[in-house]
């Protein structure tokens, strides 16, 4: 008989695995297509905005599209196919904000939707802001050090 540790190891080794290559190729094409769409939109927006604004509009457009597709129940079908292809672009972030919002409406707008909207967005915001601040501190310290020396 196995010990539970040996069994868990054995299961890890023997269980069927995801088809990595097939999934990755699908992720490549869908993810690439989303980025290419973003780039095309960027050139369109450049006609009436500066570069910084155009970049923001691209993000907002992709988020809005992902949010709408999530609401229609189409996004999860695409994501089942595409995996990282829809998760890695900003569309994955948008889906992780929109899906709990729709799902937890029944528990109320304040205590249901309110906290649950941040289930995935919360950690992303927290650690991006933290790492940004950490970078700022290091940068500031280096600047002070430069002035002193």
């Amino acid at each position: 008989m196995y010990s539970s540790k040996e069994y868990a190891e054995h299961v890890k080794k023997t269980s069927p695995r995801s088809p990595v290559l097939k999934n990755s190729v699908k992720a490549f094409f869908v993810g690439g297509a989303i980025c290419a769409l973003g780039q095309a939109l960027f050139f369109i927006y450049l006609n009436f905005a500066d570069e910084k604004e155009a970049q923001l509009f691209v993000t907002v457009t992709l988020i809005a599209a992902a949010a709408f597709l999530t609401g229609l129940g189409i996004f999860n079908k695409i994501a089942r196919f595409a995996g990282a292809g829809t998760l890695v672009p900003v569309t994955g972030f948008a889906n992780s904000v929109v899906s709990p919002a729709i799902d937890n409406k029944k528990e109320g707008f304040i205590l249901g939707l309110g906290p649950k909207i941040f289930t995935v967005a919360g950690p992303v915001i927290l650690y991006s802001v933290l790492s940004g601040a950490l970078y700022g501190i290091i940068l500031y310290a280096v600047e002070v050090f430069k002035k002193l020396s």
Partner: protein, 332 residues
């Protein structure tokens, strides 16, 4: 040594019913369910309420099929997968039957049958006990995994929680299908912390129960027509056969898994198979009991498998404990 308990007054199935949702209706057993709902909502407006309605519907159907009034039912054993088993309590409260809520994860169906038989062992006359278990894909997904609209891929070992329920009324009957022996299951530490490989997490518990049962000389694999596990799925069944082969037991000819019967895995993308309290309950009520009643099967071993865990326990890396109680069902 763990042994089965042979019942002195083996109770008979007086009536039973099954109900299921959209996907289950499109599976191989689809047309055998007594009731199904295309919207999965069962007339309510949230998934949690829908599961309550599902449990309500299935018990109503069992009462109706047996021509029994709810006043004649002395006790109700019921359970589901929702937090604090609210689907069973909210769905079944208005029957006014004395209630004992159960949680055995996906093994609850066998647990309820086992306890109903024990209850009837000590009662006399025309006592009737009811066992109801349900599960709902959307409610379970929300509670244990991710929001329904969330887009993600699942591993090949993941299982699909069945939107299904089964209700059983047990009591005294001259002849029919009976529960003749019962055996509770030991909790077995699988060492697995991956909530998307529950089949493998439950296989050691199923192996332990099968081993305990057949190391008792009064049982013989050949005397059973089927050995039915609850929801091991494809992956779990593989590991069950492998674990048993180490003990020199081969059940592959007799073994069937409810989780592999409920869906057509070629056409329906459910990965390893079905799971949930309603999986084994609905398959027993829709598939095995009619076969036993028609004498197509004489004797089966019915053992629902459960994975004992919560979303927090998985996040804290507490291993998943498997459990597998068993009942022997015979027709006479």
């Amino acid at each position: 040594m763990r042994k089965t308990k042979i019942l002195k007054n083996p109770p008979a199935f007086i009536s039973y019913a099954s109900a299921a949702g959209y996907e289950e209706h499109r599976g191989p057993l689809g047309c055998k369910f007594d009731f199904h709902d295309e919207t999965d909502l069962f007339g309510s407006d949230s998934w949690e309420k829908a599961e309550g309605e599902l449990a309500h519907t299935v018990l109503s159907l069992a009462l109706k099929k047996g021509g029994i009034s709810e006043q004649d039912v002395e006790v109700l054993f019921a359970g589901d997968l929702q937090n604090q088993c609210v689907a069973s309590s909210s769905g079944l409260y208005n029957f006014g039957i004395p209630y004992l809520g159960l949680y055995g994860a996906c093994s609850t169906c066998t647990e309820a049958l086992l306890l109903s038989s024990l209850y009837l062992e000590t009662s006399e006359g025309d006592t009737i006990a009811a066992a109801v278990t349900s599960s709902h894909y959307c409610a379970a997904e929300r509670q244990f995994r991710t929001p329904l609209e969330y887009g993600g891929q699942r591993t090949p070992t993941a299982q699909w929680t069945a939107t299904a329920a089964g209700a059983f009324l047990l009591g005294r009957k001259e002849s029919g299908v009976r529960i003749t022996e019962i055996m509770p299951g030991k909790m077995i530490d699988s060492g697995i912390c991956d909530a998307s490989n529950m089949g493998a997490a439950m296989a050691p518990a199923a192996a332990d129960s099968v081993f305990a049962l057949f190391s008792d000389e009064k049982h013989d694999i050949s005397s059973f027509d089927r050995i039915v596990t609850g929801d091991l799925g494809d992956t779990g069944s593989f590991f069950l056969h492998e674990l048993l082969s180490k003990d020199g037991i081969d059940i592959r000819d007799k073994h069937e898994d409810c989780g592999l019967l409920l869906y057509d895995r070629n056409a329906q993308d459910v990965h390893s198979g079905a799971s949930g309290c309603g999986c084994s309950a609905s398959v027993l009520a829709a598939h095995y009991l009619p076969m036993l009643e028609k004498r197509e099967l004489k004797k089966i071993l019915f053992m629902s498998t459960g994975a004992l865990m919560s979303p927090s326990s998985v996040q804290q890396r507490i291993p998943i404990f498997g459990i597998c109680p068993a009942v022997v069902i015979e027709s006479d």
